[in-house]
């Protein structure tokens, strides 16, 4: 998977196995990719897909069991000290910090671990806090900060050493819409103005679609699709088909058997007495076949219309369908 311009992160045939009770568990299975300087690169995947494992390897927390990875030209396995000088990371789930000191002191402490002079560090902390809307809360003890401000402080920490590459794992998880939006704006600004490369692992399709230049969809340790969000949506061919079906149904398994249906999601609205099905189809013929398949089950299609597939629908089409196929293979 290629990038344009200077390459910041390069991964080749990366593999990681963990000891299991029986056979080893493969978390990463031959992943290869290139990420360019100043690019925001999204890594999408379901739980256990290998996103966090990849970030742990790239940030030198974990050794690979096969393949290699380089960050700014330094090998993560053999030159971890050099890699650490140019990276940083943050995880939305952790909100890491020492509770007994203030947010500012937390940031100062980490700046010192990078050997940054205090005056420079304080200036940088103030700039980052300004950008992240954290300034008013800098002197509060870390435990006294709300989830959103703890998260802003965590993000600020990830940029305190002015890294060339930043790894973010679910950076806006659990945040309100406005906070999440301000963090996204900050990340875009960092990539655009400072040419920082950001690798963002996320479940949040809207977030990835909104800020990532390119995306890799990873499942069962393998990259199953990659490209710009637009390319991925376009690669699935025709726009999505939306159908409102009555009476409400819990399952639409008949759609799995329709040729040209790449994936679907369904939700039920009891109050309206119908189910809404979003289907990603390859062709117009497949859309008609899907509608017919539903009708053959004795269901009434109240309304149907076409729309552009979202990244979420692409994800479901690739990952959701993939799961089913594998489950069927496992049964066989």
């Amino acid at each position: 998977m290629a990038s344009k311009g200077t390459v910041s992160v390069e991964v080749s045939d990366l593999r990681r196995e963990f000891k299991g009770k029986g056979s080893p568990v493969v978390a990463l299975d031959g992943v290869s990719l290139k990420v360019g300087q100043g690019e925001i690169f999204g890594v999408l995947g379901p739980n256990g897909a290998g996103k966090t494992t990849m970030i742990r390897i790239l940030s030198t927390l974990l050794l690979p069991t096969g393949g290699w990875a380089k960050v700014m030209g330094f090998d993560v396995e053999h030159e971890p000290e050099k890699v650490r000088r140019v990276i940083n990371m943050a995880s939305g789930a952790e909100k890491a910090g020492y509770d007994f000191i203030s947010a500012k002191k937390n940031l100062w402490f980490f700046s010192q671990l990078y050997g940054i002079p205090t005056a420079t560090a304080e200036k940088r902390i103030m700039e980052l806090s300004e950008m992240l809307g954290l300034t008013k809360y800098l002197d509060r003890k870390f435990y006294a900060l709300s989830t959103g401000y703890r998260q802003r402080a965590t993000i600020a920490r990830a940029f305190v050493n002015e890294p060339k590459v930043v790894f973010l794992d679910e950076p806006t998880i659990g945040l309100d819409v406005m906070t999440a939006r301000s963090i996204r704006e900050f990340l875009k600004e960092q990539a655009r103005r400072s040419e920082r490369t950001i690798i963002l692992a996320s479940h949040n399709m809207a977030e990835v679609e909104a800020i990532c230049d390119r995306v890799a969809i990873i499942d069962k340790g393998k990259i199953i699709a990659a490209g710009t969000p637009e390319d991925l949506m376009r690669s699935l061919g025709a726009p999505a088909l939306v159908m409102e079906v009555s009476p409400p149904q819990s399952g639409f398994e008949m759609l799995s058997r329709v040729e040209g249906v790449k994936g679907f999601t369904a939700s039920t609205e009891e109050e309206r007495g119908l189910s809404t099905v979003h289907i990603v189809v390859e062709t117009d013929a497949a859309a008609r076949a899907a509608e017919d398949a539903v009708k053959r089950e004795g269901l009434k299609v109240v309304a149907s219309w076409r729309k552009q597939a979202t990244l979420e629908e692409v994800f479901v089409a690739l990952v959701g369908r993939g799961f089913k196929e594998r489950e069927e293979q496992d049964v066989v």
């Binding site: 650490r84 890491a96 000191i101 402490f109 010192q112 671990l113 050997g115």
Partner: protein, 281 residues
Amino acid sequence: MTSLRPILASAWMGIQHDIAWTTPVLSVALRVVAPFASAMTVSIIYWFGTTSASPGLFNADRLAYVLIGSTLYAHVASYAWVPTVAIAEGKNLSVFPHIYITSRSTAFYVAGTVLSSFVISTIASVAALILAYLALSSFLGTQIPATVTLTSVAMVAAALVANIPGALGLGFLLGAYSMYASKFEWSLPGYVAGLLMVFSGALFPTSFLPWPISVGAQYLPFTQFIAAAREALLPGTSGDYATSMGLCLVGGGILLGVSMFVYFASERKARKDGVIDRRLA
């Protein structure tokens, strides 16, 4: 300076960890309780045992020996815990992996936190020694011998400094373990401290131990540190001061070298096994 920053910042963090939950005075005062209680307990047991067994058995020099040894032992025991707590707590607060991926990584952090505890426990131990000395003198109504001059105090201070490599060595050795520990990490420093009470000559000369344990115990840097400090305050009781200082520095240096090797090997294995960012139970 760039290498000193992470150590000083980690030392500052260690001090904050100890005092930020209350006022500095109260925090240090509470830190004095353990070494004071330790010194009082062993001293009173010695006094009670000897005076109960035979009226002429009590020896004020021996009481001073036990008093100084138990206080200095408490000093060693208190910083044995620090790397374990720093790593375990760091993992539970999720900060340890972020420290690990900084350009200086965790060795500077461990060194800084050990040094902070070293300083705090030195203040606490010295205060405990003075308080215990005064309390026992008053309670037992006896003059406990001690040579307290500018020279002897300087000699004790020099012994404390000479013990820093050994303190760091113990810190890295226990830190190597806590890189992996899941549930027992809180217990290990206690076991180590318990062993040191027996093997460091805190309460009785190491020559009392069976051979070859007595030989091994004799060359522990902590044994030599206690011997040097005790010799400064009680001349003629614990061998030659200069020899003890030399052995303390050499032993501490060897321990530090071996511990660093073990620590980095453990860190590498932890990275291989993926436990650097694993939380502890």
